[in-house]
Amino acid sequence: MPTLPILIILLLALPLCASIVLLIFGRRFGEPFSGYLGTGVSVVTYGITTAILVTWIYKSAMWGYETGPYIDFIRWLPIGIYAGQRDPGFLELTIYVDSLAVVMVSMVAFVSALVHLFSLGYMKNDPRYAQFFCYLSLFSFCMMGLLISGSLLQLLIFFELVGLCSYLLIGFWREKKAASAAAIKAFVMNRIGDVGFIVGLGIIVAYFGTATLPDLWLILGSGAGEKVMSYGLLTTVGVLLSFGAFGKSAQFPLHTWLPDAMAGPTPVSALIHAATMVAAGVFLLARIYPILTPDARLFVLMIGATTILIGSLCALAQRDLKKALAFSTISQLGYMVLAIGVGSWTGAMFHLLTHAFFKALLFLGAGNVIHTMHHDGRLEHFGGLFRRMPVTAITFAIGILAMSGAPFLSGFFSKEMILAHAAAYAGLAGEQHRTLLLQLALWIPVMAAYLTPLYLTRLWMLTFAGKPRKRKLYKHAGEAGIMSFPLVLLAGMSIVAGYSWFPIQSLVDGTIRETRGYFHAMPQLDPARADPLASVWPTLSTFTETTVETGEVAEAREVARSPVERRVEQGYETAHALTGWAWLVGIVCGVAVWSRGFAVTDRLARFAPFAVIRHCLTHRFYFDDLYDLVFFGAAQIATAVAVAIDRFVIDPFIDAVAKMTGVIGRVCAKMDDAAVDGVVRGITATVWQGGGAMRLTQNGRIRVYVASASAIIVLVLVAVVIVGLVR
């Protein structure tokens, strides 16, 4: 298919060119035009992704998913001559397109186009209007590059690049100190995650000499990996690689940057920090899934569960609309990470895609509110806005329903799938008498399923219902058409995205079939540890299609799979039973508690224990303060020590050496003066004085000369005579 590479290149080139053009000429283009340019390009990009989607679906329909992904390589970095590689000695850049990439690209382009549209209204009259659209286009490029990555190196590259866009956009209002501080925090925390990723990448390169994903999958799948790398090490590598995902997806130890990142403009929060970039972490986990060992996945699962807990609890008590939404994003990302952990690969990707729509919807709705309230996001200042902005309120409500898992909306399907798989996982773990902690893989998401509608309803009630708490702001509130239109589109998507006829679920499922060889690789790695928990849980739709296969293979697979199938069906039943009405329970409770603003909760807060809990939740379990104290403190101490070593150890040492040299020099000079020169001077003085003495004899008197000459002659003669006589 020659069209596909061209489309892919266009997909990358268009946003990049747009951002470069806007960077250079943005100021000259001025306010409306640069926005139109950026938006136009994003819409065209979406058109291209649709073309890719159509091409891909057509291809899959024609030849089936077994044709596999489209792969192209460029040699990029030389790393020496290693064995077992297609292009020896190079780390490669790749274009790797499979169904997942196709559907992700479409989703990103769709949300991006709508966010561009929204920004036309939201960023009106901003002094750096053009710059904003430049950054958005740059982000589109980076995100597309990330999604078509087929090598760990390229994933790292685009991870950092989307991190850059995130940095630029969080700190967009650079005059606000909090914004630039949050931007730094986001970048640095992501880099901490990337450290893990780079270390994992390094170990993989050291062992396999390649970072290209299909190669790695093949090596591990063929069992060759087993010969070179121990199970424990492979687990470690998996955990290290996941840290990159944890940083990007704001998972437990590294989650604190995301709420702060809300200091950026709201469209950015919708696009980057809710729908796309933060989900890239989960995307990464999906890409390295075949590399993750069961134990590594257990780790991922624990991280995901912890994050769900933290995110959904903190979301309950946030005072800021966007921060509450940020915590809900954290908890939903936790869902996806947990899904990866329990083996629900399809569930994670499915939820990622549906979540993108309703979370973008919620954020854009929040953006609408915040925009009309003059960039004030505090819930205390809202209230009663339903009458002023009905479209926003209704679409927001749809988003809430979708996210809560109300039936017939997209969130229902994806969430149900994750819960069902989690239930299947927990059930299997129970049968195998594994530790009871594994049951938390089911119970924590179930608990969150009740909390999610609760905190979302709280937001809606406090924002749209009740009486306006800030009259002055309320009076001027309203909504603009250009900013409401994206909400309506997103609300529509939030409703339909989950159905099986919509090309999301089928493509996610298709990915598994395209890369089936890789996805069943792991259990072969270590037969002793072959673990049913390690396999990918099938989705319901795959059951029906297995009958297409014929012959012994199909039968064998059927026999092998039927218990798994049964288990998944049981899982669905469990999930239904546990959370079928959770959305309604949550919403009813939420309406009951927050129908009169903060009145009920404030009264509850008079009880000391409740107040403590609320305080704890509002302050996000004090993670930020803890990190400030520990890591910032440690860094400061290390800095002080390093500077002190330089200033008080090395430099004084050098200066002392210099001084010593001076002292030694002076001593040497003295020695020279006294000893060596003294001898020389002594000789001259002696000669001088001797000369003076001799000089006395030279008195110039001729008679004295004659007398002395005579006397000497006489003396000599006398001596000669005496000598002669003695002889």
């Binding site: 990029w76 970095l77 030389p78 950092e160 730094i184 270390v199 050291a206 860094a635 020590v641 390093a642």
Partner: protein, 515 residues
Amino acid sequence: MELIRQNLLSILIFLPLAGSIAVALIRNHRAGRAVALGTSTAVLVLSMLLVIPALFDWTHAGPYAYEQQGGVVQLVQRIAWIPSINAEYLIGVDGLSMPLVILSALVFVLAIVAGWKTDKLPRAFFSLILLLQCGVMGSFLALDFLLFFVFFEVSLLPMYFLIGIWGGPRREYAAIKFFIYTFVGSIAILIGLIAIYLATNSLDLIALPEQLVGKFSPVARACIFFLLLGGFLVKLPSFPFHTWLPDAHVEAPTPISMILAAVLLKLGGYGLLRIAIPLFSDCAIQFWWVMAGIGVFTILFGAFCALGQTDFKRLIAYSSVSHMGLVLLGVSMMTTASISGAIFMMVAHGITSAALFFIVGVIYDRVHHRDIARMGGIATSMPMYTRLSALIIFASLGLPGLCGFVGEILVLMGTFAASSYGPIHAVAPRWAIWMFGVFATFGIVLTAGYMLWMLQRVYLGKPASDLKQLPEIDTRESLVLWPLCVLAIVLGVLPWATVLVFSGSTVDALLKALS
């Protein structure tokens, strides 16, 4: 053409010398600096000839190449110099020196443009810069140990005067510190040189590795190796020999800082790769952990020191120290990736550090201090300057797509790869190599930390009243910054076509010789 081609390297070395003399003799200041600029530009253009594949074959030995141990050394000129001690005028270029030669040619042009408005003794200033260029070019191109040493020293003296005369308030202290540090290093190298000469009666750097086999006792070999290592570590500089660098940078004028960071530091890394490692490969393998340990410690130490600075220029000087630690780590690991990474890192750091010091110079020209605490909000008054600065800062902290990343990732990958490939993995346990890799990787977090913190405090935020009306960078300043920014991107996107294609065969040859 053929004549130029044969004598190209000699022209590269001695054209700056001729220029230096000419500038010193010309009476007129304006004419003098024009001659200086012309000379350096000519050198740059001539050095670019090295890139042309039709003239010089970088993947295979060409007609003028002479191959020893597979190394592709080209354009060799060999003339007897001091026959009584076998010293020759022996020059040549290979993939190791070629990128550095072009880098220095470029940096000197930019430095002369950056120093265009020097008022104090301008002719002497430009004359000394050209003399410095002669020394630097000679050091990179010499293949005779004594010749190398002579040029190495030639580059030292002009630097002393350039800091000592045109520097800031504490210039004399800084100049003397620089001189003494480097001179002590030179003495260590000289002792090594003499020992090597006495053992082999030869100074030919290409032939020496073979001639030195089995020449000394192991202890003596180690001693000489450490002497050479120490000598080059001073120049690199790495902990604990680094404290001359911040002082020298803070006191040196902008163009001199650019040259110092971008070119002179590279002599250290180049010396390690050209002399210390090939000549005593067994010691280098045996004591890899010393070099790697110093390298990793330097990365972290330099980064922490940078975090603690309030002086803009000092911060960048310490960032140089940190980056040079990465070069040392790459050199010590001796895999294709790590050594290619070290070479790339040297080139990339040459670009980013020159740009960073120029950036500091630009801001210093406008506000006349370098105290980060008193800056802020410069983005408002100087948007273009801020954009270019941000680009360079991100290049320096290793953002993918810009030049810093390639060097960093190659060195790190090479470090990890050393646990499976290359000469180190035979002598060292895996976990030890990985620990070095892990600590070095943590350096990138710190780098991001101090660079972004600096970016925030200098450029972002609300401008103070005295920073609101700063003039935007003028044409001359753009002329310096733009080429560096473009190079930062080009090198980051096309590392293979720009640097690694030239260094590849040399690195392979070096590694073949090591194992």
